[in-house]
């Protein structure tokens, strides 16, 4: 099974997985609208249709979905001061458990409200004034016009720019890695992807990986890996074996 060819039918997107990734990278699809759980379900369905467990496919899928989730999380929590990535695994697990538990409780509370609403359906009461009630007069004390000016200043105040800079730091542009890898390949015909990741944060590693996908999509490189978890070798197109070349082309045809 080839993960990137996984056909998806989500609310926000319909088509192969690799096309979704491309659109997300080009910011033509908003990740906030993408139902990642739906992608996982689709993958599991496809996996279940096969008799054997396809470890390669599972590995590739996990990496891609993790990258998607990380991007989505960043989009949703962009102003978050505490970075999960910066936390020790123990602390991160604790924080994640806390958040998931919070959401689960709210779901339970929503269920309680739904039940309450149905048992209270037969309680009718008047909304608004009674037919023959006196008309209340709502008087307002004299107001200071300066309050109006202050409110307009408030509405015209630019939101603090600090958080934006922060975001850039945490989530470098894909273009940065595109340039870096292209430059590398003008000097060398191939490089070892894993060693290029040394010293990078997890966010940067994710972006680097997405840049790699983008280059392959554009048919500028080919990628090979001897075995799962073995180093990923990246080479200029034309430097690799014909077999790999063919695979790349198939993929390009589908994602076009």
């Amino acid at each position: 099974m080839i993960v990137r060819e996984l056909d998806l039918d989500l609310d926000a997107f319909e088509g192969p997985f690799d096309l979704l990734l491309t659109l997300v990278l080009k910011e033509e699809v908003d990740l906030a609208d993408v139902d990642v759980a739906g992608i996982v379900v689709r993958f599991l369905e496809r996996l279940a249709e096969r008799e054997e467990l396809d470890l390669d496919a599972c590995g590739e899928f996990l990496v891609l979905v993790a990258a998607l989730l990380e991007l989505k999380a960043r989009g949703l929590f962009e102003d978050e001061p505490a970075e999960l990535a910066d936390l020790e695994p123990e602390e991160a697990a604790e924080e994640l458990a806390r958040r998931l538990a919070e959401y689960r409780r709210m779901k339970e509370a929503a269920g309680w409200l739904a039940e309450r609403l149905s048992t209270e359906r037969d309680r009718f009461f008047r909304i608004g004034p009674a037919p023959l009630a006196p008309q209340p007069e709502r008087r307002l004390a004299p107001q200071d016009p300066e309050a109006l000016a202050n409110v307009v200043r408030l509405l015209a105040a630019e939101p603090p720019t600090v958080s934006l800079a922060h975001m850039e730091l945490r989530f470098p542009p894909v273009a940065q890695f595109l340039e870096r890898f292209r430059a590398l390949l003008t000097r060398r015909s191939r490089f070892d992807f894993d060693s290029e990741l040394d010293g990078l944060s997890r966010a940067e590693q994710a972006v680097a990986f997405l840049a790699l996908l983008e280059l392959r999509r554009a048919n500028e490189i080919s990628i090979s890996q001897a075995a799962p978890f073995a180093p990923i070798r990246v080479s200029r197109v034309g430097e690799e074996s014909a077999a790999v070349n063919e695979r790349t082309q198939t993929w390009n045809a589908r994602s076009a």
Partner: protein, 201 residues
């Protein structure tokens, strides 16, 4: 006839009278007999008999709730004996300030001139429907025609003379100047929209 409640309880119309009571206490306007007939799915004669029983039960001098037949139909009102207490209930203490939502909406209308609700919502980043309704009800703003001519366009709102009185202004030209912001209305409007967009990004 001394204890009408006793009578209602013993009467086969009991159930119907209770249902009509319930309908009347929920209604926002007097209910015509036809509507009571439709809602209770009973017949006119019985509905009118039940109303008669209720009128006796909810009678001035006997109850704080009084059933009255007015032009539009039947409705509950407060007894005259309770008029003073009702007066105190409805005579709201003078309100000292406006909510943030009202103040923002009012400021946008005051500084930008006639504005539509959608534009207020865009600038505030939140729907302005209830704030606009509240300010209209208080007489601080009023409708000022429609956007793009007579039909179709959204209603525009402007401030009223009452607004000027409450804020102690002779006219809108006396609004405090916004030194660091564009003095020109169009520039100010543009600035507010730009910031709102940044904020929602």
């Amino acid at each position: 006839m001394e204890r009408p409640l006793r009578l209602v309880t013993a009467n086969p119309l009991d159930q119907l009278a209770r249902t009509i009571e319930a309908l009347l206490v929920v209604a926002n306007a007097p209910l015509p007999v036809e509507e009571l007939i439709a809602a209770t799915e009973d017949d006119q004669e019985r509905v009118e008999m039940a109303l008669g029983l209720l009128a006796e039960r909810y009678h001035e001098g006997r109850s704080g709730i009084v059933l009255e037949s007015v032009a539009g139909g039947w409705a509950f009102r407060a007894s005259r004996a309770a008029a003073e207490a009702c007066g105190r209930l409805f005579e709201r203490p003078v309100q000292r300030g406006l909510s943030q939502a009202s103040l923002e909406t009012l400021a946008i209308i005051a500084y930008l001139g006639p504005v539509t609700r959608p534009e207020i919502a865009r600038i505030r980043g939140v729907a302005a429907d209830s704030a606009v309704a509240g300010l209209t009800e208080r007489g601080l703003i009023t409708e000022a025609g429609r956007e793009d001519g007579a039909h179709g366009g959204a209603v525009k709102y402007k401030t009223t003379p009452m607004f000027e009185r409450v804020f102690g202004l002779e006219s809108l030209s006396e609004l405090p100047r916004l030194d660091d912001l564009p003095g020109d209305v169009d520039d100010l409007r543009e600035r507010l929209h730009a910031v709102a967009e940044q904020r929602s990004a």
